[in-house]
């Protein structure tokens, strides 16, 4: 990410949102009552497949169409690649960037609902460091830290690789301390490949 003073904003709003979550209900978890059948189905039911998986596939299809088949998507690549150049071609920067944040928050909200549904409870401290898992999946999927490069199919593969890695390490009975190290090394290699690719282009 180019250092334009903007990249730390999501992290700041994350902290504020965490604080709000702790203020809500005095920081106590809220159990999802069994009577909330629709909400519980969101994370646990099987209707033509596992519901959360279907939601994920739908989210990927919609975002892939938006990113790869619309003018909005092209504008995002342009802004990510070179913000100044995009501004000179008349692309409205603020409107597009806000739209991305809104879309991101919407998806995070859906993910949070699925998470609470699966755990049968909503916890204010939930999802700690999940943003790092998301970043890892995206980077492993070929998105560049520098911006302007990356695809939805790539991110899909990245998410699957991170998921398989987690499950595989657990299933193989690898000690958790070693799991942290392996995951860190995988993300490090992906970031290294990104730097390599970029220096080749220049």
């Amino acid at each position: 990410m180019p250092d334009d003073g903007r990249s730390d904003r999501p992290l700041l709003s994350l902290r504020i949102a965490r604080g709000l979550a702790l203020r809500f209900n005095e920081g106590r978890p809220i159990a999802v009552p069994e009577s909330q059948e629709v909400f519980l189905a969101l994370g646990n039911a099987r209707v033509l497949g596992i519901v959360p998986v279907l939601v994920m596939v739908a989210a990927f299809v919609v975002t892939a169409v938006l990113l790869h088949r619309t003018r909005f998507g092209q504008h995002l690549y342009a802004i990510g690649g070179n913000r100044e150049a995009a501004r000179y071609t008349g692309i409205p920067i603020a409107r597009n960037v806000i739209a991305v944040y809104v879309a991101c928050s919407l998806l995070a909200g859906i993910a949070g609902m699925i998470h609470a549904s699966q755990l049968y409870s909503a916890e204010p401290g939930s999802g700690q460091n999940f943003e790092l898992i998301a970043i890892a999946a995206v980077v492993v999927g070929g998105t560049s830290f520098a911006g302007g490069v990356g695809t939805m199919p790539g991110t899909f593969l990245g998410a699957i690789i991170i998921g398989i890695l987690d499950k595989g390490l657990n299933q193989a009975g690898v000690h958790f301390s070693l799991q942290y190290i392996v995951r860190g090394l995988v993300i490090l290699s992906a970031a290294y490949l990104d730097v390599q690719r970029r220096s080749q282009r220049q």
Binding site: P29, N44, Q118, L119, S121, S126, F176
Partner: protein, 180 residues
């Protein structure tokens, strides 16, 4: 000043041995926490008195609901015959139970844990959690304040004070809730 965590682990182990004397059990640890290390020590020590119980593995459940769920899910994948679990606290137990339910094995895995929170006691009453070795935070607070007063008054105080724990099962769940 803390709960007697070794005793809490022992109570959980004895409760498990009573209902599932040939248990094949997994432990969901939170190994960076001293209280949890004591619980697992107490649990393992008591289990060693029951040679028919096998501890299949110890994995990190992080002591949270969301940490416990995927670890329990994957342990069930690795050990299809697992029929008991010792998550080291209530939140982790709730995560393990949600994994057990989503694997279609409700009632087939005996879960014993430590804490005695309202949320967990509700799940004990629903029959999904066998027991929780309850801690008594009010007593911990009271004893801590009293000890500080004594110390300030210049009296000698013990270095380490252990507050007793109590096993909560379906039988005494209501009574326990009323005492809170």
């Amino acid at each position: 000043m803390a709960s007697d965590n070794i005793e809490a682990g022992r109570l959980a182990a004895e409760a498990l041995a009573k209902v599932n004397p040939k248990a094949r059990v997994v432990i969901l640890h939170h190994s960076v926490n001293k209280a949890c290390i004591d619980r697992v020590d107490g649990f393992k020590r008591a289990i060693s008195q029951h040679p028919e119980i096998t501890i299949l593995d110890t994995q990190e459940g992080k002591g949270t609901t969301e940490g416990g769920r995927p670890v329990m899910r994957d342990l069930m994948g690795r050990f299809p015959d697992v029929d008991a679990a010792f998550p080291i606290n209530d939140p982790c137990a709730l995560g393990a139970i949600s994994a057990i339910e989503s694997a279609g094995k409700p009632g087939k895995v005996t879960v014993v844990t430590v804490d005695g929170s309202r949320e967990a006691v509700a799940v004990i009453k629903a029959g999904k959690l066998h027991s929780s070795s309850a801690q008594f935070p009010r007593q911990i607070g009271r004893a801590a304040a009293e000890t500080i007063y004594e110390h300030l008054a210049g009296k000698p105080v013990p270095n380490d004070i252990k507050i007793p724990v109590k096993l909560i099962t379906r039988e005494n769940a209501d009574e326990f809730l009323q005492s809170l």
